[in-house]
């Protein structure tokens, strides 16, 4: 990350000037529009879903309260390919329209899916669960007394929603949207596929098209400014959350909906889940099972093997480092340790493209150094030892996803009361023994969660892999992207479906936590 920021100070190549003259404005405007659109989209979808499931009672509410999380399993680039396949000119929807109305090409208007608007829709559909999750928790932690106070002061339930419940959930809404927007900025697959010139695509193009690593880094630095603004927003809103004490809540009293309104709610929830998960998943499945034998063929199994190996390596590294950092902070809660944890936890906010560029520059420099040293002393050229290797890739994953692991490890450690450490120490155990005999057994759940989350995130990660992968090395995500870019949507379905299915794991994990929370409330 330092490398990226440092590049701002470095020399500006002519290409930078060229970029500023031509496409930079495009990148900024498109990225801003994208953020605005996704912000509005996730707000509307997430908040209404949260309000319905947390505050109203309608048929299927329990089912939907976790089903609404399903779209999280769907990476944005995959839903983008899928909808393109379904909605473009040759797709089933338009074909059906033409057949039933006897239209020909150009006779009718149909929204173009591969556009900025399309990208906004796709991203909103899969990113709203961030808002939903946080706002739902906020709603259900709001004291019923406060809502009843509003009723007893003469406000109807709907007025109460807008005057009290929503303003009180503001910090959660802001936090959720800032998360969704970070993901939006980090997204490469969707915008690249839809041909939208946003920052991430710009970085890619500068590099591969113009071969300007330095300029790409400068673009990345620019993107980072946006990200830090969002990061700050998220942190600030979470600080404000402290002023909203979750008070003793009586058993939640939901608004009973009946008849048409209840049906409307059920339909709305169903529509959101269908659009974000069920429809694209079915479409993927139908493409994939056109030719099920392919699943067992060597190329696909290779992909699976590569992906799993990478993900497992990165997950283990992350876990080890997270444990080291988290435990170090517990033992020595000093300033330095806190800063180290804070800095390393920012990685998740940084888009994969930026990290990839940031990792590549020092590695390339190291390679060149080693290479020239080796040539001087040994007379052999080592070539690129590190930058094209799996090591660089895993390193980049660790930078990006360490915070995910750190979060579960820290929250797990946080639940272990310090008195336990102290009693173990007073019984004659060294810190390492305490870790092994007390903490690790108690942390098993958190550690597994951390491992799983990183594993799945790595599996889904597209841009980092795309930039840093060794030559001729492919993963599920990369392959799906390549095939889709070549318009071989049906062929892309198999790896895409595999990613979605694996992506379901953390969602299931989360819904289990969520329903446990419901039972406690």
């Amino acid at each position: 990350m330092l490398v990226i920021v440092g590049s701002l100070a470095g020399g500006y190549s002519p290409a930078w000037g060229h970029l500023v003259d031509t496409v930079l404005a495009d990148y900024v405007v498109n990225s801003l529009l994208l953020m605005l659109g996704v912000g509005v989209g996730t707000f509307v979808l997430g908040v209404s879903a949260a309000w319905l499931t947390a505050m109203c009672e309608f048929p299927g509410r329990r089912l939907f309260s976790w089903a609404l999380l399903l779209p999280m399993a769907m990476p944005a680039y995959i839903i983008a390919y899928t909808y393109t396949g379904m909605l473009d000119y040759a797709g089933p929807v338009q074909s059906l329209l033409r057949e039933s109305f006897g239209w020909g090409y150009g006779d009718y208007w149909f929204p173009r899916i591969r556009s900025l608007g399309g990208a906004i829709c796709m991203l909103s559909l899969v990113l709203y669960p961030y808002v939903y999750l946080l706002v739902r928790v906020a709603f259900s932690e709001q004291s019923t007394a406060v809502l009843e106070a509003s009723r007893s002061l003469g406000k109807t339930p709907w007025q109460t929603l807008f005057l009290v419940a929503l303003p009180m959930a503001r910090p959660a809404i802001a936090a959720g949207i800032s998360l969704a927007l970070m993901e939006t900025l980090a997204d490469y697959g969707t915008v690249a596929y839809f041909g939208v010139s946003a920052f991430t695509t710009g970085i890619f193009r500068t590099w591969y098209g113009l071969g300007e690593l330095q300029t790409a880094a400068q673009l990345a630095a620019f993107l980072l400014l946006f990200v830090f603004a969002l990061f700050a927003l998220g942190r600030y809103s979470r600080l404000r959350l402290r002023f909203h004490p979750a008070s003793a809540r009586q058993e939640s009293r939901r608004i009973q909906l009946r008849g048409a309104r209840a049906a409307l709610c059920t339909l709305l929830a169903l529509a959101i889940v269908s659009a974000g998960f069920i429809l694209p998943a079915l479409q993927l499945a139908s493409w994939a099972f056109d030719d099920p034998a392919r699943a067992l063929e060597a190329p696909f199994l290779d992909l699976v093997g590569n992906s799993f190996m990478l993900a497992a390596m990165a997950a283990l590294c992350c876990l080890f480092l997270a444990l080291l950092l988290g435990y170090g902070r517990r033992l020595h809660p000093g300033r330095l340790e806190t800063v180290a944890v804070r800095v390393s936890s920012m990685g998740y906010a940084v888009p994969g493209t930026v990290i990839a560029v940031g990792v590549l520059i020092p590695f390339a420099w190291l390679d060149n150094g080693i290479d020239s040293l080796a040539r001087e002393w040994l007379g052999v050229s080592t070539g690129l030892l590190l930058s094209g290797s799996l090591a660089a890739l895993v390193f980049a994953y660790v930078v990006r996803f360490l915070s995910v692991a750190l979060q579960s490890v820290e929250s797990g450690l946080g639940r272990i009361r310090p008195a336990l450490d102290e009693s173990a120490r007073s019984l004659g155990h060294s810190p390492t023994q305490v870790l092994r005999r007390v903490h690790l057994p108690m942390l098993r759940g958190s550690l597994l969660t951390a491992l799983l989350l990183v594993f799945v995130d790595v599996l889904k990660e597209l841009p980092t892999t795309l930039i840093l992968r060794p030559f001729n090395f492919s993963t599920l995500a990369v392959r799906a992207h390549e095939l889709a870019s070549d318009e071989r949507l049906a062929d892309a379905a198999l790896p895409a479906l595999a990613i979605v299915l694996i992506g379901l794991l953390p969602v299931i994990l989360m819904t289990r936590n969520l329903s446990r929370g419901d039972n406690n409330a």
Partner: protein
């Protein structure tokens, strides 16, 4: 129907569970009532039924002559002119004090609203804190904001749900007195829900003691203490022990409890009685022949609270000046002074509760 509040034979059910059963209650304008009882007795449920947050299964609730709740029809909470102060105050965390108080005043125009808010701020002496947010206030201040907010729209009745329970115990009684003053001066009709009898006595004109969803006794604080209607009331209010005894032909009680004031009337020789013995009914007397074994003892500063053993194993309380210091297991000379003692016929002989 001149009563401000008329609760008529109200029953509230949660599914199969009956939380409030056949409760009737009236309050005149300006009166302060109290629903007192142990937790789970249904007092909060009844309050919430009056506020419109629970439906009544039977009976009716009327406020100022207009019917609010019947099993068939339920006026929505926001349409009743009912003010409510919640247990944890339930202030809106995103609004400052001024806007919290103004929340229920949207029917007024801007100027009238401003005037009313100023008036309420002055009433609870929080004018200096008008811009503060709830989390910046102390517990007592938050409580005054909650009170001002509930009173601002001029409700027909003010409901207070354990309003002092989240405050320090020292603050409680003082605040209860202050709040009573404030309500009385403004002629506010109010109902307080609490499990703390001292709070109830400090605030209310009439106290209804609830037991398992039914009213055990509805009376003035004085009568609740001195003339409890049944054993539950006797045990809940104040300190005391229920003691079983029999009366002999001479009017003497068994266990050496002495003789009973005959004006109580409803006893005959040989009858089994249940007596409520308050600590002040058992007096220390240096030369008394009656000496009871000390089985429990607590230092109260000015006094000692003794737990004494009767010959048959029952216990009675006794309050002595704190210089009377008998060790555990020792014997305390006492005299029974049962002139005002409350007597109940044993439960099995009572016809109906």
């Amino acid at each position: 129907m001149n009563s401000q509040l008329e609760v008529h034979k109200v029953t509230v059910r949660y599914g199969a569970f009956t939380a409030v059963e056949d409760v009737s209650l009236t309050l005149e304008k300006g009166q302060i009532g109290c629903l007192l009882g142990p937790s789970g007795c249904g007092k909060t449920t009844l309050l919430r039924a009056i506020a419109g947050f629970e439906r009544v299964a039977e009976g009716s609730i009327a406020l100022h002559g207009s019917v609010l709740s019947t099993p068939r029809q339920q006026v929505a909470a926001e349409q009743r002119k009912v003010g409510m102060v919640f247990q944890d105050f339930a202030l809106f965390p995103h609004l400052n004090v001024r806007r919290n108080i103004a929340f229920g005043l949207s029917h007024l125009d801007r100027r009238a609203r401003r005037a009313r808010v100023e008036e309420m701020l002055a009433l609870v002496s929080l004018t200096d804190y008008a811009q503060a947010y709830p989390h910046e206030l102390s517990g007592g201040q938050q409580q005054r904001v909650a009170l001002a907010r509930a009173l601002a729209p001029n409700p027909e009745i003010l409901l207070l749900d354990e309003p002092f329970s989240s405050l320090d115990s020292e603050l409680r009684e003082q605040l209860a007195g202050e709040v009573r003053e404030l309500l009385k001066q403004n002629g506010v009709t109010a109902i307080l829900v609490t499990h703390d009898q001292h709070e109830a006595f400090a605030m209310a004109d009439r106290v209804s003691l609830l037991h398992r969803g039914r009213i055990a006794q509805s009376d003035t604080p004085y009568n609740l203490y001195h003339n409890p209607a049944n054993e539950f009331v006797a045990e809940f209010i104040g300190h005391g022990s229920m003691v079983s005894a029999t009366v002999d032909a001479g009017g003497e009680l068994s266990q050496g409890l002495g003789s009973l004031d005959r004006s109580h009337g409803h006893w005959e020789p040989g009858e089994h009685l249940r007596l409520l013995v308050r600590p002040d009914d058992v007096e220390y007397e240096e030369n008394s022949r009656t000496r009871l074994r000390v089985v429990g003892k607590a230092f109260r500063g000015a006094s000692y609270f003794y737990d004494l053993l009767l010959p048959d194993g029952q216990r009675v309380p006794c309050l002595t000046p704190s210089h009377i210091d008998v060790p555990l297991g020792g014997e305390l000379p006492i005299r029974f002074n049962l002139q005002h003692v409350v007597v109940f016929a044993p439960p099995r002989e009572r016809t109906a509760d």
